[in-house]
Amino acid sequence: MPEMNLVQAIQNALAVTMRADPDVVVMGEDVGKLGGVFRVTQGLVDEFGADRVIDTPLSETGILGTAIGMALHGMRPVSEIQFSDFIYPGFDQLVSEASKYRYRTAGEFHVPLVVRTPYGGGIRGGQYHSQSPESLFIHTAGLKVVCPSNPFDAKGLLIASIRDDDPVLFFEPKRVYRAIKMEVPEEVYEVPLSEAKVVRPGGQVTCVAWGAMLYEAYAAAEEAAQHGVDVELIDLRTLWPVDLDAIVTSVQKTGRFVVVHEAPQTCGFGGELVARVTERAFVHLQAPPRRVTGYDTPFPLTHEREYLPLARRILPALIETARF
């Protein structure tokens, strides 16, 4: 089985899906000859041509709005937004249209659209090349939100997202793009949406993370073990609709809950998970749920490693929660 990094796995997922289904097209800024600013679509235009790998004008409204039109006709467009920080000019099309089309036509029309976009910090991108806007889309009924942490999941989740009949926001942890390699099957396979995965079983504290921060949480969990704290780490993989049962089952066992994300804390997804865990597992909670997140400021540059919830900030939260 070939080894692939995240970029290669996503590229491969696009290629195998496009070979299998002529209705799948890729569109966005610089996705053609350049292969995207992160080279995720590199080579696709050579294999599939400019009609299926489309360099668009500089308009997120156009990239998303016309893709919705294609999807309404029955195609399965995969739109790339160059950085998730730049999704806002097309926000209206996702929040007012893609998310509500099925509902307002009682299923007569639906929007099988995938929006791929790199998110998160750690590449010295500062304010506008580091954001994690997932909670804005989780708040919007009708959208699905996916965020893989590794190449194998990325390929399987992307294929599942493209085949899914509802609009999916597919957030790619740009910090992980070339950071890790693993074996990824050449053939087509799916990793089902809305299934979380326990990546480190443990009994004392439940920790939930996704994307790039999963590795930080993992490192913190390993280090916590040195301090005698046994952490169960869950990779959410799909953020919405969330696999709440997986989280609640774990918390019922551990009685303790820590959630980690890069986005600012306030009205981030972590708050929603804390609320749901508290509602569903109140009697099991032996310590206050904790959030280790980005701060409620714009994303800084020089101090990005202080801003990010890296292992060194997660570790004390795990230990304090375990010892509460």
């Binding site: 195609m75 036509t105 007569e108």
Partner: protein, 358 residues
Amino acid sequence: MQVIRDDGTLDPNLDPGLSVDQVVALYKAMVRTRVVDDRLERLQRQGRIAFHVGSLGEEAAILGAAAALREQDWIVPCYREVGALLWRGYPLQQYVDHMYGNAGDPIHGRQMPDHTFSRAHRYLSVSAPIGTQIPHAVGLAWAAKKRGLDECVAVFFGDGATSANDFHAAMNFAAVFETPTIFLCRNNGYAISVPTEAQTATRTLAEKAAAYRMPASRVDGNDVLAVWRAVRAAVVRATQGGGPTFVELVTYRLGGHSTSDDPRLYRDSDEVDSWARADPLPRLQKHLEHRGAWNEELDSDWRKVCDTEVRECVRASEEKPAPALETVFSDVYASQPAHLQDQQARALAARDADREGS
């Protein structure tokens, strides 16, 4: 551009050559649209429906365009074009049920009145946000082109929509990718209270097509044959691979923006009166009489037929119950996720508890 002369004759150089039957059918559809409009307006006044947004005075722009399209072509509506949907055979009862948001409403009372759609009639879904439908029309046409289908897509929007983000993106994409899209701009003089002169510094809206190097035409939108001619020309160009066309339909909103509006606050009656003299219905009627294909008696008979039809539908609609509460929680996704199953269960329980309570 004008085809029907004031005396009811046609400009021989511009006559699109429709048969008498075709023109009569168009006229009848325009009258039917207006009769339905009128009835719905009354129902709203009487508090029997919540809201209505009509097309009084714009029937020629809407029906002329609809008639110029082919069966396989798509219509992407703004919100005043139900006449085009009815022209395609959408059941009036279903429309009235939708106006009532009752159990017969295809979308279970999920949207405000006049938010229609029909895949069977190749008519996309009305959405309140201005302009959002325009890129959909481009994507739809682009898909048809990619799939090698002989379809083009006509999208309606107003003068106000030309200021929206989506208009700019859609026009640019259509021109760059040469999609078979027909941009139908109903310039009815107002965006609620804002006159077209305050919406843009240009003298016409057709001028805007120049920014995208898109062919454009500007026609008398109250002259149904002029509209038909311009739109059919755009269909021909689109289907011959000539790409998109922008058509400005110059018309006037004789009524309020919607039943919630009070136009007296921002325009004077003289203006309305002068436009009332350009009402598309009498103009077409005159032409038909000139052709000996119509008269007062036929006219009043047809209006009665239409009025009876809509009254029947209203009566039926008012007997239908509200949609089931469950419909609030379905169609958010292809299949209902756990959190919506929970919420539905709680909502039903609350409703039942309530019933016992009262």
